[in-house]
């Protein structure tokens, strides 16, 4: 039973990883790429880790399961923080938006402040 649940979770996670990397290649802009890649790959890797923890509990590998759960919490905490810092850094270093973008709230806020 736990093997089946683990295989289903890992399959969905690997599919999310592939979709995130396809978005990383196909989308036109740094910010769009960051959006697609970070969300899809974070969710996909977290599902892989949770599925691996379920399978390892079923097999009696308790150390592996606990390490996988700790790693899940860590990836969930750090990946949005890193993505936020990257978006801020790329905006401040002057990377232009794609010409089809409609709104840039950060630029408006910077102009209102000064």
């Amino acid at each position: 039973m736990s093997e089946t649940i683990g295989y289903i979770l890992i399959t969905v996670g690997v599919l999310f990883d592939i979709l995130g990397c396809v978005g990383l290649v196909r989308l036109p802009d740094v910010y769009n790429r960051l959006q697609a890649a970070t969300k899809c790959v974070t969710l996909g890797t977290c599902m892989i880790l949770i599925g691996a923890a379920v399978m390892a509990f079923g097999r009696g590998l308790d150390a592996l399961a606990v390490k996988a759960l700790i790693c899940t919490a860590f990836v969930l905490l750090t990946s949005p923080t890193g993505a936020h810092a990257l978006a801020r850094g790329s905006h401040k270093s002057g990377v232009p938006l794609w010409q089809g973008s409609v709104v840039d709230k950060y630029q408006e806020a910077e102009e209102n402040k000064s």
Partner: protein, 88 residues
């Protein structure tokens, strides 16, 4: 079910090659930084699948420390892109 695990490993390797394509062809430095961050997250998934395949748990130690170091590297590169010093 080891065949399914092999399929997972090949799928993650293909995703890593998509990331490497973006690292090689990315027009601006932030593109490359995003791809390096995503590649680090993929390696964590790779490590946990290797650990399940072999039944040893030291691969998971590699994945855990890789996640930590990848996060620190991403923050350092983001600060570098912002043209600021590291200590503020």
């Amino acid at each position: 079910m080891n065949a399914l695990m092999n399929i997972f490993i090949w799928a993650l390797a293909g995703s890593s090659f998509l990331c490497l394509y973006r690292i090689a062809m990315g027009p601006t430095p932030p593109d490359r930084t995003v791809a390096i961050d995503i590649l680090g997250t993929l390696v964590v998934g790779f490590c946990v699948i290797m650990s399940l395949l072999s039944g040893k748990d030291y691969y998971m130690n590699i994945g855990l420390s890789w996640a930590l170091l990848s996060y620190i590297g991403t923050l350092a590169l983001a600060k570098f892109l912002e043209r600021r010093s590291f200590d503020e």
